[in-house]
Each structure stands twice: as structure tokens, then as C-alpha cells.
Symmetry: C2
Subunit: 153 residues, 2 copies
Amino acid sequence: MRPMDALSIGQLSARTGIAVSAIRYYETQGLIHPDRNAGGQRQFRRADIRRLSFVRIAQRFGFSIDQICEQLSTLPNARAPNKADWGRIAVKFRAELDARIETLTELRDNLDGCIGCGCLSLQKCKLYNPNDIARHKGSGPRYLMGDKSEYSD
Amino acid sequence: MRPMDALSIGQLSARTGIAVSAIRYYETQGLIHPDRNAGGQRQFRRADIRRLSFVRIAQRFGFSIDQICEQLSTLPNARAPNKADWGRIAVKFRAELDARIETLTELRDNLDGCIGCGCLSLQKCKLYNPNDIARHKGSGPRYLMGDKSEYSD
DNA sequence: ACTTGACCTAAAGTTAAGTTTAGCAATTAC
DNA sequence: GTAATTGCTAAACTTAACTTTAGGTCAAGT
């Protein structure tokens, strides 16, 4: 009695390679909103394959579920998202990525002059600045200071 | 009765900006190995300031405590690490970083041709390959596949 | 009709990296 | 010398992103 074009959770799992338990979890987090059939089982739509693929890719890039959820919430609910819808998301996505890459590169370059030289005197080093490379919250102020002396410690 | 040049945990915390509880935790993880005084209180050495600074910087770069521990284990225990010791670590460190930046950049470039075009057909897309951007374990095989059709989902 | 396999929910467990709490002991300050 | 501070340990709690378990229900094949 499954409408054509609908997928069970097992089928979706097989198509995406994402565990059934993870898919259920994603629903609790609001990443997907499957319908239910008469018996209460989840009915996914083909568009959900794309949605889940996006989730996994975004995770690889280091985004949290909350952040991904925010992005996905800009997709239309009524109709299946089209090329333009996904394109809009990709723009924001790319900007975030660019920023991350830049931060990382900057840090790496500083590294050469800081740890690289063996000084690690973080007071005068640019590395001391905790510019949040996706740090999780709940951890108070994480500032860094080195020692005053040049190499006595 | 504290030997000159020794630091209490509170002093180390003040110098590094790292919470006392975190410093104790780091000891349980083997990142630092303080001595104890007659009363059983921890006695740190000035070199530990540098050690902890390194830990925090490495964390900003996305390394786990275990990975950092591995790096630090190459430092000498007997004498205080010198410039050459830290320099050796910095070399490995930089290599890791370069690799990370490259992966990220590659992914970003693929993004333009994949999500950017709206297709997200991960089967033919290079983005599907989970080249581990520092994924944590304990999560089974995380592979990605998209749909067969071009844009029906 | 009946059995097997896929699904369901709720709750508990897992890992990383710490923080918080509780109940004491050692130091430091006055 | 005594009070206030700082430190100690052990154990429980926290968040993210899931997985595992327990105990039932639904659907599909024969």
C-alpha cells in the first residue's frame, strides 16, 4: 500500500548508506519531515535522498546538525526543492567554507613563525587569538597566553 | 615550601588561561606529568606552560587530545624541551595542516560543480568519497550515494 | 493464516573533552 | 593559631551525534 515514489526508512537507508537509527535521529533533530502511513510507519519522498546527502556532505565540512538544520530550513516545504533552491544554499555554504579555509591557512602561516621558530611565546604571537575554528560552546573563555621570558620555560 | 621555578595548579591556570579542572583532566590523559610536593599537591614546571599552550593551539587546529598526546610524547622527559625539540613537532604538525587545508580546498572546488549546479548526484560526484575530515570513529561505514536519476528527486 | 522480516517508541549507553559537586586535606594570610 | 584559600580525589553531569536494547506492531511472502 505504499504510494509509488514513497520510500520506507529501510529503502532510504539503503539508498543513502545512512543507518536507520541515524535517519530516525535526524527526524528528531528536524532535518527531515517524513509523512506516516496508516500503520504509523515513515514515508519518505525521493527528495529526501538529496536532503540526506546534503546533510552528510555538510557534516564532512565540519558543520553541526544545528547549522545544517538552519540551512535546510530555507528550502521550500510545499514543493520539492529545485536547482535554484539548492543553489541558494550552496552560495552560503561556499562562503562559510572559504572563511574556514582562510582561517586555517592563516593559522598555518603563523605557525611557521611561532612554533616553527621554537619560541611559542604566545603573548606576542598571532596564534594566541582564539578566532573560533568551530569551537563548541560551554567551555568558558579559552584564551591563551604564553610566558613572559623568551625561552626560559 | 615551593621550590623556586615550580608552579601550583592555580598559578599555571592563571598563566595559561586554562581552567584548573581542565589541567587536572589533561593530566589524566597523559598530556602533562607534574610532580607532587610533600602534601600531595601538583608541582608544575615552567616548561608546562609551553606544553599547555601547544595543546590549546593544536586543539584549535582540530587535533584530538589523543593525537596531541602522541606528538607530545616525542618530547624529552629528562630535560626541558628546547627549540629543536619543538621544531621537530612543528614539522609534523605543519604537514598535517597542509593536508587538511588541501582536502578542504578540494572539497570546496568540487562543491561548485556538484551542489553548486544543483545536481547533487553523488554517485558521479567526487564529493561522495568520505576522505575523513577528522571524523570520529564508532560510527560504522559512512559512505554516500545519491540517486540514479538526474533530477527527479 | 501464519511466520518472518521490517518498523515503531522510549530509554539507556557511547565517546570526547571537560565541568560540577561533595567531602576532605594542605597552605597561606592575618 | 585560626580562618580563608587553594588543592585533592572520586564520581556524577554536560553536549553532540548517534547506536543499542527492550518490548511491541505492521507488512509481506507462502
